[in-house]
């Protein structure tokens, strides 16, 4: 009977020890494992604590990297305070936080440009760290985006060869005067090829894309940098009414 008791006791002991082993983390390989295991000195304990601290730091940094993403956004300023800029981008409102590390830049105001110079309606480019959880961007670089041209598509409704201007109608029935300058690069897309073209080759009723900047004195005029026109290409249903011009 005693033998049976002894065997059962041994079995229970073995299984208990195995279960504990399964949940105990594997020990770290060290140069002097025996010394460490037998008499843990205060230095070893401090080292362990330091290792744990580093592990926590790495873990939190990994989590942070997954949560944060480098992004560049563009939009018109809706509002701005000393710590926050809200812009309207092409996919809606974007809120960005500003701190002491944020750098500000404006091509027209080099050196002294800061957050106090930002006005409602300014076109800003913000590069920074986007937090996917808060959906806010921590701005690192804020610059006035004066290099973004207007990109307008429409149909030619009138040509003024005397003043080198075109009048175009857009999809939303807006009429815009296009100033063609000597520096304007004109191209034509026809039969799968993009060819060099000129002002005289543009016809009324033709579809075209105009890239340029709004005239400072007249917001209804565009000073053109590039024109790409499409001889023979069909117009969209919204623009077919302008096929014959006015």
């Amino acid at each position: 009977m005693k033998k049976i008791f002894f065997v059962l006791f041994a079995l229970v002991l073995i299984f208990t020890v195995k279960s504990v082993e399964a949940v105990t983390p594997t020990s770290e390989p060290t140069d002097t494992p025996v010394a460490k295991k037998t008499t843990p000195t205060p230095t070893a304990a401090a080292q362990d604590a330091q290792i744990e601290k580093i592990k926590d730091l790495v873990a939190s940094r990994v989590a942070e990297l997954k949560l944060v993403d480098k992004r560049g956004v563009l939009g018109y300023v809706k509002s701005s305070t000393n710590t926050e800029i809200t812009i309207n981008g092409n996919r809606g409102e974007i809120k960005s936080d500003v701190d002491e590390l944020t750098k500000f830049e404006s091509p027209s105001d080099k050196g002294s440009f800061g957050i106090s110079d930002i006005k409602s309606g300014d076109l800003l480019s913000i590069v920074g760290l986007y937090n996917k959880e808060t959906e806010r961007i921590l701005a690192r670089f804020v610059s006035v985006a004066s290099n973004i041209p207007e990109n307008i598509e429409g149909v030619v409704t009138a040509i003024d060869p005397k003043n080198y201007t075109l009048t175009i109608a857009t999809d939303d029935n807006k009429k815009i005067v296009v100033n063609v300058e000597t520096s304007t690069k004109t191209s034509a897309y026809q039969d799968g090829d993009t060819l060099k073209s000129g002002f005289s080759k543009i016809d009324v009723g033709e579809r075209l894309i105009v890239v340029g900047f709004t005239d400072k004195t007249d917001s209804n005029q565009i000073n053109t940098e590039r024109i790409l026109h499409f001889p023979g290409m069909a117009l969209s249903s919204n623009l077919t009414k302008y096929k014959s011009g006015k």
Partner: protein, 144 residues
């Protein structure tokens, strides 16, 4: 009395064995659920109409992702549209026209400007109807 103690002891031993087995089995079959990253809906946002429909224009731009940063001036715009459409990609600097392949996919190499760029991709159908996709790509070599 001895028999009772023995039965209790055996029961405890069997219980421990079963618990250990269940624990090991659970540990081996446990799967960690893959949590979808927050904000993934706005990451690499595909084109405006991802579902191709017969008879109507569609455009799906896969790269570059909207609001992405690029450390190269020459980028590739990749996507899919109807094979018979014409693709026009415009940046601050240039316009590039292209024809998609037989399966409708297209790749256009285009130059971007320093700073922010608006990449406008148009897919124009032979009927004249078009689909447009606009996204922002910023050229930046800054480390932050």
């Amino acid at each position: 009395m001895r028999e009772r103690i023995l039965i209790v002891f055996i029961a405890v031993a069997i219980g421990l064995v079963i618990t250990t087995l269940v624990f090991f089995l659970y540990q081996q079959t446990k799967t960690i659920p893959q949590k979808a990253p927050a904000g993934s809906a706005i990451e690499n946002t595909p084109g405006t109409s991802p579902t191709p429909q017969v008879g109507s224009s569609y455009l799906s731009v896969d790269t570059p992702a909207d609001q992405s940063l690029s450390d190269r001036r020459l980028i590739q715009v990749k996507g899919k549209t109807h094979p018979e459409d014409t693709i026009i990609v415009s940046t601050n600097q240039e316009d590039v026209a292209a024809k998609p392949t037989a399966d409708g996919s297209f790749t256009v190499s285009i130059t971007i400007d320093a700073g922010a760029n608006m990449i406008i991709t148009r897919s124009i159908a032979p009927s004249g109807e078009e689909v447009k996709d606009s996204r922002v790509v910023t050229f930046s070599t800054d480390d932050f």
